[in-house]
């Protein structure tokens, strides 16, 4: 079962990403306003979704850690935070490439763009915090609190286009996307969701292994020496 997850999930995810790219680039029709340029949407929309899903996982895992004190929850939170930084980076970069030919600018301080940038930098700060605290118990507790506070930004990102005037359009839905485009988009969302799961699972396993090593470390032994030897 674990073997299927470790190896099978990344393979299925990669195959779907390739198929999704083919669907988005070659099968889906051009868009009447944006021409071929819009095709980056097939990567931008899924990565944007995952950049909100990842912090949601971190928030739930952080709450679980505080309630149950299980180290597995802390490992899941850390994995989710790293995956979150990755996907919000992808979301910002693809969005910027999308924005230049459509809006006319690489970047503007629109509420949607700004709130995603805050999410991105906040989780980089979160990961930095984790590396500053040596005591595993304190590290897990402090980072859990930090993660819960950062999570406030997730609904803000989602609703930013509804609450405030923005350059970014509102969420598309099946009625605003032609079925010939919605099909390829669904494939790409599924593909990137599996990439998300594969990365989360792999990083979680690494986190668990790190916890085991941390616990077996004799106290008083300098950490730097251990880092070098590992």
């Amino acid at each position: 079962m674990k073997r299927a997850l470790n190896i099978g999930l990344p393979i299925v995810a990669l195959v779907l990403v390739v198929w999704g790219a083919y669907q988005g680039l070659a099968v889906a029709p051009a868009e009447r306003m944006m021409g071929e340029v819009y095709r980056i949407m097939y990567v931008h929309v899924p990565t944007a979704m995952m950049s909100l899903l990842a912090p949601t996982v971190v928030c739930i895992a952080s709450l679980a850690y505080l309630m149950k004190s299980t180290r597995a929850a802390d490992a899941l939170a850390e994995a989710g935070a790293e995956v979150s930084v990755l996907f919000s980076t992808l979301c910002l970069v693809t969005g910027s490439i999308f924005g230049r030919p459509t809006w006319g600018v690489w970047w503007t301080w629109d509420p949607r763009l700004t709130s995603v940038a805050i999410l991105w930098i906040a989780f980089i700060g979160y990961l930095a915090l984790r590396r500053f605290v040596d005591d595993p118990d304190k590290r897990a507790t402090w980072s859990a609190v930090t993660a819960i506070i950062i999570s406030v930004d997730v609904p803000i990102v989602y609703f930013s286009v509804k609450w405030w005037n923005s350059l970014h359009q509102m969420q598309s839905n099946p009625s605003t996307v032609d079925p010939r485009m919605a099909g390829p988009l669904r494939i790409n969302i599924t593909a990137w969701f599996l990439v998300f799961l594969a990365l989360l699972w792999t990083r979680y396993r690494i986190g668990r292994a790190e916890q085991d090593r941390e616990q077996s470390t004799p106290t008083g032994e300098p950490k730097a020496v251990l880092r070098m030897s590992s």
């Binding site: 868009e31 306003m33 505080l66 309630m67 609190v145 405030w164």
Partner: protein, 150 residues
Amino acid sequence: MTNAGKKRLVALVAVLVAGGALSFIALGGLEQNLVYYWNAQELLDRGEKAYGATVRLGGVVKNGSVKWDASTLKLDFAVGIAPEAVGPSVVVHATGAPPQMFREGMGVVVEGRYDGQVFTADRVLVKHSNEYRPPAPGEKASEIYSTLVE
């Protein structure tokens, strides 16, 4: 208090702080102060207070208002709330080629200064809706996605 009890208390405080911050942002009327752009009516309502300051004006390019002079690169158009001739509108003067999707009836956000007569734009941004449609039969995407500068 036990360690586990302390952590649950910490969780409760964190959730309360997060929930409080979110409800303040959602319900605190921040949209009054946190504004990416004004529409034509909001700009006109501000009257003299809006003159001279660098602001953003958002709306729709009025039908029949676009004048493009390829020799001087001057682009004049009007921004309103609807593309039709009714409702408030602001005359915009810009220089240089606009983004390729710029055309009449399209959503735009312009950055610049308003002097009571003319909005002088430093930057013209095109707003895209959340609609994704293929070209209608007989229409070619490349013809619509074209620039004013050939």
